[in-house]
């Protein structure tokens, strides 16, 4: 089995957009020696009142996003806001920059309104140097009681902080697709211990999984359900987490499945401009799935991207035909994060099984 495994992956859970400037409605506090949470809460109240009286504040979860420099957060800001609007929350962003030697502490607060109601209360806690030691307790003190705690993890899936996040959070969301594939193997280890981890790379392959399942539900193709023996995935440019997860999922569903993963071509360029007012599907990113094929003798099912569509071609004794197709959704990180936030606690067993199978597959690819 031959494949290219690239280390050239993007930022974790970023919007894929140019960095945003801080919102004009943001209020800032700087601290000299440790945070003063009462002052942060008062500042939040001011932010709530700034846009006039809010009829209601909706909150369904605590969303904690952890990054290790300000740039990472700036790139992820739009995604977090979008997910927060769809899942009203208290968003606590923790920026722990331990590399910058100078010590500093700051809190920035703002609210996002949707049709008048406050749907996101955002608190950004930033620390540099040794001051990062204050972040964890400050974040804990600002969590809203009772509500689920979901952590968006912007770093490597290991270390003390990650371990404590796994212990304290109801769910942790990563994006193994934005990291070199080795990170998926680390995630799989944690999943093996029951860590409640979700993954945007997993959400990115939902359309492939659905189309494959829907195609096997077509009455004239149901006869092939019991005959799947081989599966193959082609990734764009390099083997990525999405392709590994797709094959891992197939292996976890079908016993004695022979699998193959390959890389060919390149990632797609970002479109220069959107053609219409409706968001388009994202361009094919590095390592993402380009083609997915499975054999159920005598039929071969080939799922492939074509313009904004995902097509399922079936070839058997005849010349073949397109049996099914779906429109690819606009997979922005915000939308993917919103999809993952539909589960607020516990592990997704299907993902855990797929990730562990994918980790074994990766080991085989590398050997």
């Amino acid at each position: 089995m031959e494949a290219t495994v690239s280390e050239q992956f993007g930022e974790p859970i970023s919007a894929g957009a140019a960095p945003r400037t801080w919102g004009s409605g943001e209020l800032t506090l700087k601290f000299d020696d440790g945070f003063d949470l009462a002052r942060v809460e008062r500042l939040l109240q001011q932010a709530r009142e700034r846009g006039g009286p809010a009829p209601e504040t909706l909150c369904t979860l605590n969303l904690v996003a952890i990054y290790f420099n300000a740039g990472q957060y700036e790139r992820a800001q739009e995604a977090l806001e979008m997910a927060g609007t769809l899942h009203p929350c208290r968003l606590i962003v923790v920026i722990a920059d331990g590399i910058t030697p100078e010590e500093s502490l700051s809190a920035r607060v703002s609210v996002v309104r949707s049709a008048g109601a406050i749907t996101v209360e955002r608190i950004v806690l930033a620390a540099t140097g040794r001051a990062v030691r204050h972040l964890e307790s400050a974040m804990t003190g600002l969590l809203r009681a009772e509500l689920p705690r979901v952590v968006v993890w912007g770093g490597r899936p290991h270390g003390d902080l990650m371990r404590r996040a796994v212990e304290a959070a109801d769910r942790i969301i990563t994006d193994s697709g934005a990291r070199p594939p080795g990170y998926l193997a680390e995630t799989a280890k944690l999943l093996g211990k029951g860590a409640p981890i979700g993954d945007l790379a997993w959400a990115r392959i939902f359309p492939w999984q659905s189309l494959a399942a829907d195609t096997l539900d077509l009455p004239t193709l149901r006869e092939h359900r019991g005959n799947i023996r081989k599966a193959r995935v082609v990734c764009a440019g390099a083997v990525g987490a999405e392709g590994l997860l797709l094959l891992g999922w197939m292996q976890s569903r079908i016993k004695r499945l022979e699998v193959r993963i390959e890389a060919e071509g390149e990632a797609e360029e970002e479109p220069a401009s959107a053609a219409g007012p409706i968001p388009r599907c994202a361009p094919l990113g590095l390592g993402q799935v380009k083609l997915f094929e499975f054999e159920a003798s005598p039929a071969t099912f080939t799922l492939r991207r074509e313009k904004g569509l995902l097509l399922a071609d079936v070839k058997g004794d005849d010349d073949g035909y397109t049996a099914n197709r779906v429109r690819l959704p606009p997979e922005t990180p915000g939308r993917l994060l919103a999809l993952e936030l539909k589960i607020l606690s516990g592990a997704d067993e299907l993902y855990a099984q797929a990730a562990q199978a994918a980790a074994k597959l990766l080991a085989a690819v590398r050997s």
Partner: protein, 516 residues
């Protein structure tokens, strides 16, 4: 290999655990009445929005069937204008529209003419080839009810209805009103049964497609605090209101035949009664939910005598008045309405549900046209306190209000202490606005229902026995109210809350209508 039911015995190994709902199979949707008001205002905009949200199968086509002589291009253009005007997503996305319109066809002809259906068949076969719709058909009868029997017979005659276990599905969506009374509803059901299977029939009531109506099921059965008090021990009475500002809006001919009882009570309002009164279903599937709904309707005591109707039902008809600051004509001055018409545009009535849960808890229903404002809601009034610590009349009963439209949401009224020295209770309202809470535009009811019909999910569609049970209740009123002996509807000026007799109806029980 052709499909045989044995193939279903091997489960789909890829389906378990998937989070995404299954996509609809490729299909062609035929709209009878394809140029009509419903098609232009609701159906085609809803289908376009499903394309925008990526829920429509990519292999999809629409065939409009109507009398007007139009070319395919003219039809597509008229639908584009309709979508531009009535779609919830604007402006039209040219790329999505291009693909959507490429699957649009039109057949001109009369429903009485078998040749219309021969041409429809040819058009559908062409769509199968051009758009890979694979022989799956969804027929939507957006026509007056008088056309339903002809349509069904012509479809059957043209060989356009496949058996229910065929690999190519045939489904038929039938718009309300389903029949004119119990007898005609039964006759129509019998005809349907002769032509196709109940599993292929989707009787649509667009109220069930509204998010807030579906939320009622979640609210009742996903919260542990409400269900224990949702019964005669804690609930004093229930008020269900469906008020419109609009008059008959150019539909005088239809309304003269229907009236408020057929237009609103038999379907929308009784569906709200079912959802508020039903027991928890054993599962959340089509038959389990509908089994429980039909039990509510069967438990409703029909009106046994003219005296009982006179005591429990108040009918009204609007006269000229002012609504939203503008003069409006009376019902009898509307187009296609007969002078001296006895058609009611207002009804207030009291229902008794003879069940373990609801016996002794009256359900007051009211529905009307030309009200001061549009409002559809369910208000559950809880019992008054057995003893007030804070003085007689100092507290009001708790009320839970489920607003269906507008400003969809849930409100709970309860007493709190006014800050200060004395114990002075004041009733406040805790308000949850469902429509804006989740930062997304709530989909139109027809989007959900069309998608469910394409998926073959009948949960939000009315079953045969449900329709007949609802008609049994309404028929027991109509038999009396449409007789010459029954007094004509009470007049009320447009823009008022209805005739005073409606207030007296509830006041006799020591209660009052909720102020809107």
């Amino acid at each position: 290999m052709p499909y045989t039911p044995e193939h279903d015995e091997v489960p789909n190994p890829l389906r378990p655990g998937l989070r995404a709902e299954s996509a609809p199979e490729p299909c062609a949707l035929v709209i009878f009445g394809g140029t009509g008001d419903l098609a232009q205002r609701k159906l085609v905009p809803a289908l376009y929005n499903l394309a925008v949200t990526g829920h429509l199968p990519a292999a999809f086509g629409i065939v409009g069937v109507a009398k007007s002589e139009l070319s395919q291009q003219e039809y597509a253009q008229s639908m584009r204008e309709a979508v531009g005007k009535f779609s919830r997503t604007k402006p039209i996305d040219p790329d999505i529209w291009q693909d959507f319109a490429a699957g649009m066809r039109y057949v001109a002809g009369s429903f009485d003419d078998p040749d219309t259906f021969a041409r429809l068949r040819a058009q559908l076969e062409e769509l199968d080839r051009a758009r890979s719709t694979r022989g799956n058909r969804l027929y939507y009868c957006a026509t007056p009810p008088s056309a339903f029997p002809t349509l069904l017979q012509q479809l059957k005659g043209a060989g356009l209805i496949n058996p229910p276990n065929d690999s190519r599905f045939t489904r038929i969506v039938i718009e309300k009103p389903f029949g004119h009374d119990l007898a005609s509803a039964r006759a129509l059901n019998r005809l349907i049964q002769e032509i196709c299977d109940e599993r292929q029939v989707f009787r649509i009531d667009h109220y069930l497609g509204k998010e807030t109506v579906q939320n009622l099921l979640v609210f009742r059965f996903a919260n542990s605090i409400f269900e224990p008090i949702w019964n005669r021990r804690f609930v004093d009475h229930v008020q269900i209101t469906a008020f419109e500002e609009l008059g008959v809006a150019g539909r005088g001919r239809y309304y003269e035949e229907a009236g408020i009882l057929r237009d609103m009570i038999q379907n929308h309002v009784l569906q709200l009664v079912c959802l508020s009164g039903m027991e928890p279903p054993v599962a959340f599937d089509a038959d389990a939910v509908r089994d429980e709904k039909v039990k509510v309707l069967r438990a409703v005591e029909p009106f046994q005598s003219p005296e009982e109707v006179a005591r429990s039902v108040v009918l009204g008809q609007y006269t000229a008045g002012s609504v939203a600051g503008a003069d409006v004509p009376g019902y009898q001055q509307e187009k296609d309405v007969a002078p001296g018409s006895r058609t009611p545009t207002f009804v207030a009535l009291r229902l008794n549900i003879r069940s373990w849960r609801w016996d002794g808890v009256p359900f007051y229903l009211r529905s009307a046209k030309r009200m001061p404002k549009r409002a559809t809601e369910i208000a559950v009034f809880f019992h008054s306190l057995p003893h007030s610590l804070f003085g007689e009349g100092a507290t009001q009963p708790n009320v839970l209000i489920i607003r269906v439209q507008p400003e969809e949401g849930i409100a709970l009224r309860f007493a709190v202490k006014v800050p200060g020295e004395r114990y002075m209770p004041r009733t406040v309202s805790m308000d949850f606005r469902y429509g804006t809470a989740f930062g997304m535009t709530v989909p139109e009811a027809y989007e959900r229902l069309l998608l469910d019909a394409m998926r073959g999910d009948q949960t939000l569609f009315t079953r045969r026995d449900e329709i007949e049970a609802a008609w049994r209740i309404v028929d027991s009123i109509l038999r009396v109210s449409e007789s010459k002996e029954f007094p004509p509807p009470n007049p009320y000026p447009a823009g008022t809350w209805g005739p005073p007799e409606a207030d007296q109806l509830i006041a006799r029980d020591g209660r009052a209508w909720r102020r809107l």
